[in-house]
């Protein structure tokens, strides 16, 4: 039988079989009792109690009023449970504090590199005398600092912080994560220097030389160790959704990164298929799981109500793993690669609609009817926005994989805008929200200037809005111009200029937002600011507040 036919037939039969298994499982109680597992992140009697350490006392009160008015007494957490949670939080404070601090530093540097790259595209004669500042170096420096510096370290920090909360015990083996995070950071630093000096591997997302990649593989594997150790000590009956995502993500990344960077293994066009197998999986099987794990925890936790449907999350998880892992080929549509590979990737890109809607329905149904909570909860504001952008980015990505759309958008700035919708609109927003929630617990200190949180939010939201909308329009027009054989190529360059300038403005606002965020972060680190409630909100006094003795009005 023809090879292509057999591959396509095999895939088809596998999908049909999977569909039947799914239908069978539906009729066998897939929608059975998921309540216990969905409420596993709450302490007994905690449902209905809001939690957002980033909120001021007034906001806390408003949040509680919005969610469960006048019912505080009914949601008292037992002192023992509160104490156990406090110990769980404390067990991660050092490693999470360090990891998130590094992440924030990378965020600022990455933003500056991105802004420089953006300006250089419409001011090509600006800052050209330094090799390391040339567009072809500062752009991959930006990408790698964002991906492996900011996003990965923030994701790792949030994941480690979540582990004891999800397993209701203290973190075991924090030192592995600390060493792993350090190796990882050294890797990012060395990789940045390598790219700046021209020692790049030449593959997008895989620029770091393989010697440096070892640090990320070992470091990435080590940050996963506490998860597995803590799992053995867990005090929960059910593993909550976030655990699946974190566990799978922490396994997937080191393996993928190892295969992708193995020296001397890949060649020519095969390397291109590998490149995009990795390039898309690093989003789908590394950042997305970490981002979704955080969203799945913080949305219900802040609101004090369980996730809409536990079983949908099951579908979402396995669907994401299966379909997302095969979509990479859509980056090579029209390229010199086997056509069955492209076709499979396009099909699976469309199939991604299933897990995306499972997650979307699940998360948005949880928030639905509680939008007033967004006014009061800084954490939720970022995370719900991020979750919405996840849906948007995913649907956009599926459509972009279609040949007709891809023919226009491929090779244009449209793709760049899309990439930012995913990694910034979704992932970074979720990380911002998570960090606002986590850091008060880590530092035992409130965010000193709550207004800066709002300032950060609006700067990055407006900045990103400008960035995304204008670059998407510019990219689309660029694609149309390139497809029209009567339009000279230079016309496709010239028409993008105003859009590229708009992107710099948007990117500038985003960078400004990050500077505000970082300044606030470090102000908290040094315990600046008025001690309004001080440790009253946190630390040992946590219990009296949680047990409802002095509810903020």
């Amino acid at each position: 039988m023809d090879f292509t036919v057999s591959v396509l037939l095999g895939t088809f039969l596998l999908s049909i079989a999977a569909l039947f298994v799914f239908i069978w499982s539906l009729s066998n109680g897939l929608f059975g009792d998921g309540t216990a597992a969905a409420t596993e992140i709450f302490a007994p009697n905690e449902l209905g109690r809001v939690e957002d350490p980033a909120a001021t006392a007034a906001q806390q009160g408003g949040l509680q009023q919005a969610m469960a008015p006048g019912d505080e007494a009914g949601h008292r957490m037992a002192a023992a449970d509160a104490e156990a949670r406090s110990r769980a939080d404390q067990s991660t404070s050092l490693v999470v504090g360090v990891t998130l601090t590094l992440a924030v530093v990378w965020l600022v540097l990455a933003s500056l590199a991105g802004l420089i790259s953006s300006i250089k595209l419409h001011a090509p004669d600006w800052w050209v005398h330094y090799e390391w500042l040339t567009f072809g170096r500062i752009r991959p420096i930006h990408l790698n600092m964002v991906a492996y510096g900011w996003c990965s370290l923030a994701g790792i920090g949030v994941a480690i912080w979540l582990i004891p909360r999800l397993l209701k015990t203290e973190l075991v083996g924090a030192k592995y994560a600390l060493v792993g995070g350090a190796l990882w950071s050294i890797g990012v630093f060395a990789g940045t220097v390598a790219i700046a000096m021209g020692y790049s591997d030449g593959l997008e997302w895989l620029e770091y030389p393989w010697q440096i990649d070892i640090l990320l593989v070992v470091g990435g594997a080590m940050v996963g160790v506490p998860l597995w150790l803590t799992l053995l000590q867990r005090k929960v009956k059910h593993l909550y959704v976030s655990v699946w995502y974190i566990g799978a993500g922490l396994l997937w990344f080191p393996i993928m990164f190892l295969i992708a960077n193995w020296p001397g293994l890949h060649f020519g066009v095969q390397q291109a298929t590998m490149n995009w197998w990795f390039g898309h999986n690093v989003l789908g099987l590394w950042f997305t799981p970490l981002g979704l794990a955080a969203a799945y925890y913080f949305i219900p936790k802040v609101l004090g109500k369980p996730i809409h449907s536990y079983n949908l999350s099951l579908l979402g998880f396995w669907g994401l793993a299966f379909f997302y892992s095969q979509v990479g080929g859509h980056h090579l549509i029209g390229g010199p690669v086997p056509s069955w590979l492209i076709t499979i990737s396009i099909v699976q890109s469309m199939m991604m609609v299933i897990p995306v809607f499972a997650v979307a329905v699940n998360q948005h149904m949880t928030v639905l009817g509680n939008f007033r909570a967004l006014i009061y909860s800084p954490t939720l504001r970022f995370i719900v926005l991020g979750a919405m952008m996840y849906t948007a980015a995913s649907v956009q990505g599926s459509l972009e994989a279609l040949r007709a759309v891809n023919t226009v958008t491929h090779f244009t700035h449209y793709t760049v805008a899309h990439a930012h919708l995913g990694l910034y609109g979704f992932f970074s927003m979720v990380m911002f929200g998570s960090i606002y929630f986590i850091m008060p617990r880590v530092m035992n200190w409130e965010w000193p200037y709550p207004r800066l949180i709002s300032l950060h939010f609006w700067l990055v939201l407006i900045g990103f809005g400008i960035y995304f909308i204008w670059l998407s329009i510019g990219g689309w027009l660029q694609g149309l111009a390139m497809l029209d054989e009567k339009t000279p190529f230079m016309q496709s360059v010239a028409l993008t200029l105003p859009y590229l300038q708009a992107r710099s403005i948007g990117g500038g606002l985003m960078t400004l937002g990050h500077l505000v965020f970082a300044a606030h972060f470090f102000a908290m680190g040094w315990k600046f600011g008025p001690s309004r409630l001080g440790a009253a909100l946190l630390g040992t006094s946590l219990f009296s507040r949680i047990s409802g003795k002095q509810v903020a009005a």
């Binding site: 090879f3 050209v128 291109a272 298929t273 010199p336 086997p338 056509s339």
Partner: protein
């Protein structure tokens, strides 16, 4: 708990096994199968391996990130007018037999370069264009690469390559000398020429997306 464990209950074993099986499947599909198929594709007879100079230039192409704005994969005329723009026929896997790391690219902020050596065979043009793209292509947003050149007052010494800039960009009394890295980069660019016919015999049938015109033997 009175109820037994649900069939769908997730535990460590399921997460690990499921995650690994799924990743293996995707890797088999997108990495291993292309590996096995493409390993057998022979280099076209008309395609020469890069010489040392060109390889040094290719390294410079990588170091300076040309790939972030230039693709090296003309698409089929049925999909896009790449050939009409003079970028060449749709490329096939064999065209990249000597290309490791691959430089297919994902952006066309600038034009496709797979056949730039055939399209623009002038060494002078390339050197001057690298020194100041806007001297040759008005409206270009390509960065200049002054660090690949040495600007000197007075005359060049023997053995040095002087860049011949257009009169309006040349400054009197000043010479621009190409450093070895610039010469190597241009040697690589000039070697980019896949204008030979694509219809080399392939051992495995129907493996090329763009081998649309391929005849059955």
């Amino acid at each position: 708990m009175s109820t037994g464990k649900s069939f769908w209950e997730m535990d460590e074993l399921r997460i690990v096994t499921g995650a690994m099986v799924i990743l293996s499947g995707a890797t088999a599909l997108l990495v291993v199968m292309p590996y096995m198929l493409l390993k057998k594709v022979p280099p076209p007879a008309a395609l020469k391996p890069y010489n040392n100079d060109q390889l040094v230039g290719r390294q410079s192409y990588i170091a300076n990130g040309c790939v972030y704005c230039h693709s090296q994969q003309p698409r089929d005329i049925k999909q896009a007018p790449d050939a009409t723009r003079g970028w060449g026929r749709a490329s096939v896997a064999g065209d990249y037999a000597y290309d490791t790391p691959h430089l297919l690219g994902t952006m066309r902020t600038g034009p496709d370069l797979l056949n730039i050596g055939a399209r623009q065979p002038s060494k002078d043009w390339h050197l001057g264009h690298l020194y100041q793209p806007r001297a040759y292509t008005p409206g270009s947003i390509m960065p200049p690469y002054p660090y690949l050149f040495e600007v000197r007052q007075g005359a060049a010494q023997t053995g040095e390559t002087v860049v011949n800039l257009p009169p309006s960009f040349a400054k009197p009394g000043e010479v621009v000398i190409a450093k070895p890295e610039a010469l190597a980069l241009v040697a690589y660019l000039l070697s980019l020429d896949r204008t030979y016919p694509a219809l080399a015999p392939l051992p495995a049938p129907a493996t090329g997306a763009s081998a649309a015109g391929k005849e059955k033997p």
